[in-house]
Symmetry: C2
Subunit: 438 residues, 2 copies
Amino acid sequence: MATRILRAVPCDVRFPTSRTLAGSDAMNRDPDYSAAYVVLETDHPAGIAGHGLTFTIGRGTELCVDAIRLLSVHVVGRTLEDIAGDMAGFWRDLVGDSQLRWLGPEKGVVHLATAALVNAVWDLYAKLEGKPLWKLLADMPPERLVDCVDFRYIDDVLPRAAAVELLQAQLAGRSQRELEIRRDGYPAYTTSAGWLGYSDERISDLAREAIAAGFSHLKLKVGTSPEADLRRARLLRKAIGPEAHLMLDANQVWGVDEAIAAMRSLADVDPWWIEEPTSPDDVLGHQRIRSAIKPIRVATGEHVQNRVIFKQLLQSGAIDFCQVDSCRLGGVNEVLAVLLLAAKFGVPVCPHAGGVGLCEYVQHLAIFDYIAVSGSLRDRVCEYVDHLHEHFVDPAQVVRGRYVAPSRPGYSGEMKPESVRAYSYPEGSAWAAQAASM
Amino acid sequence: MATRILRAVPCDVRFPTSRTLAGSDAMNRDPDYSAAYVVLETDHPAGIAGHGLTFTIGRGTELCVDAIRLLSVHVVGRTLEDIAGDMAGFWRDLVGDSQLRWLGPEKGVVHLATAALVNAVWDLYAKLEGKPLWKLLADMPPERLVDCVDFRYIDDVLPRAAAVELLQAQLAGRSQRELEIRRDGYPAYTTSAGWLGYSDERISDLAREAIAAGFSHLKLKVGTSPEADLRRARLLRKAIGPEAHLMLDANQVWGVDEAIAAMRSLADVDPWWIEEPTSPDDVLGHQRIRSAIKPIRVATGEHVQNRVIFKQLLQSGAIDFCQVDSCRLGGVNEVLAVLLLAAKFGVPVCPHAGGVGLCEYVQHLAIFDYIAVSGSLRDRVCEYVDHLHEHFVDPAQVVRGRYVAPSRPGYSGEMKPESVRAYSYPEGSAWAAQAASM
């Protein structure tokens, strides 16, 4: 029996995180971590639904919600079996909508909304198969995985046949790596200590706690002033000791020359990478920064809009780490494309997370990447931020600095109904209470 | 007396152009040319208002309208004098909104909405100064023009001081070129003959009419099948003769290798340029295509999201023509940045137009570029499409293949109130009638 998608019910869910400055950085000073969330209701007798989201930071979430509504005509009325039978075609229907495409193409609000719908479809697919998403993907033969990818605009660098070969080369080790991940989990790093809005003392305390909790990689937000950046980075280095990996994140505030100068002055604290040193659109800028600041490595991705920019960042040797975002890219299908591109160029994937639901999502992607695509954990760590997990039905779990492989069916993005109700914007109790007190 | 902006009133205006297939191409099969339109009402005693728009093609226009509403907090309540006193700072306020920026940054729906607001502010500014926009700009000293530009992310290639120098070098010839443009107009080319939905016969007829009307440059949409493309291109070449310039436009349907193969087969008709041969995001792809198909030249821009991508297209030698779009970029300020970048690299600017209001806008930009930035007409033609002008208060006029320099104060994007009423979506009479007949 085919399962038909009957309705797409989108919702604007916002958490008032700006009240605590958790999540603050040089570019995003006061984020209210939010999600344009969508539930795909079906005719499945057990009531199975697909839940998906895209991550936003407050104002404008309603634009993504409305875009989900507009794009849902490509989803509603179809059966999961029909969609799964031609995943690349389904994805092309969404990104190629003959009028909505103009508003991107494949970027910005419309692409974020695409991610929510595509992620919801994969959640439904995994639930119907009774597997966590990573396992659903890791069980697919190479041809089947490649069938999910739209090779338009990337086949000059990665033809379909080469992608199949690349996956075939990792087939033999899949089950061994799966056992290993189930046993040991996937390495995580934490950003929770280093928000820009935190005091020096708080950063030191949180960093020591993180090391005690088993983390070996920590990230600090920079990009205020050279003096403040250096002072805070030295403080963090002192708190974590010389062995731990210290990553820095400028969240795009610098120009190219500025980034080079800034990183020369920060070299002192032995940073493992500098993240988002400049505009995510600037492939050639990243290339120049990377060659100028070696051996400090360059990372970017949370704002890289689609596989076309990633293709260029990889083919030009502009980045050392590929930080795919589960919601910035157009959902699982496009993430697959980028994992394949990264593997082709031998660049480690260290997914972006934090926010709302991103940790829940990217653990699946990182684990699948290890099992079936890259086959390596070298220089791989998956971001972790320890807030807002309590709102999810199957929250991400990190133990001794490692993500525990999810075992419940689905893609882990399903929120608790009571959380959706309370944080619905503007009518939820969390916001109504604020409005009343103002 | 300062003029204060009291309200921003956005409106969703759509024209049912998909009924005739005017505007159809390989990627955009059924556009309903539309605008997210905004009126900035002021306290000016004569009731002067600023009118601005961003161009869209139907569904999703409401997303831009809502984004205009969200962004208007950075405009409403301010005086024009305050804004004009720090144009780059004003622009940074819009694109740097601490929560909305996440949805781009500087791309997609939010950036399109930015364009509408910025264009409305410039319209107001020009009206208050009693000048057409091109003249307002052409009268500004170099430092003042450069003060309008946000150099973040481009100063590695074009530092502020170099931009000032570049403008200073053209100061001496400004008045001579202004006289020339007022007398002769600015060269235009037409796309009206070559829509993809048009029959062979219609294309030939329209092409002969265009040549008779004084056009020397015509554009044809390609990207269906190699055979159909070649047949139609030969037909058009035959209709216009060997001397006229024939441009081709693939609207992004090809991958990089596909584009190279397609253009080798189309070389036969001696195309002057191939426009949008692949994804507008693919700087390195354009670079490869350009070097592979010489001497056919490469053009792109209508979907180039911001100055960062243009910077790279120009610095890497990926394009021969820079097709700035007045609404895809974040309005006049960012167009200025791109005109300066193009001048620095000696690449001719041939603005994208058509749609709704784009011809009205880009005539100002092309004329200003000639008078004050590039100082050259060599290889410059400004796109013209002959529909929907009747809805504008000060419509673009093309005579004998040349744009007549606008003389009325403002940026020419003001629509007739009765057109706004009739085509407001969905409540306007043009749409209500359709709904009733369905």
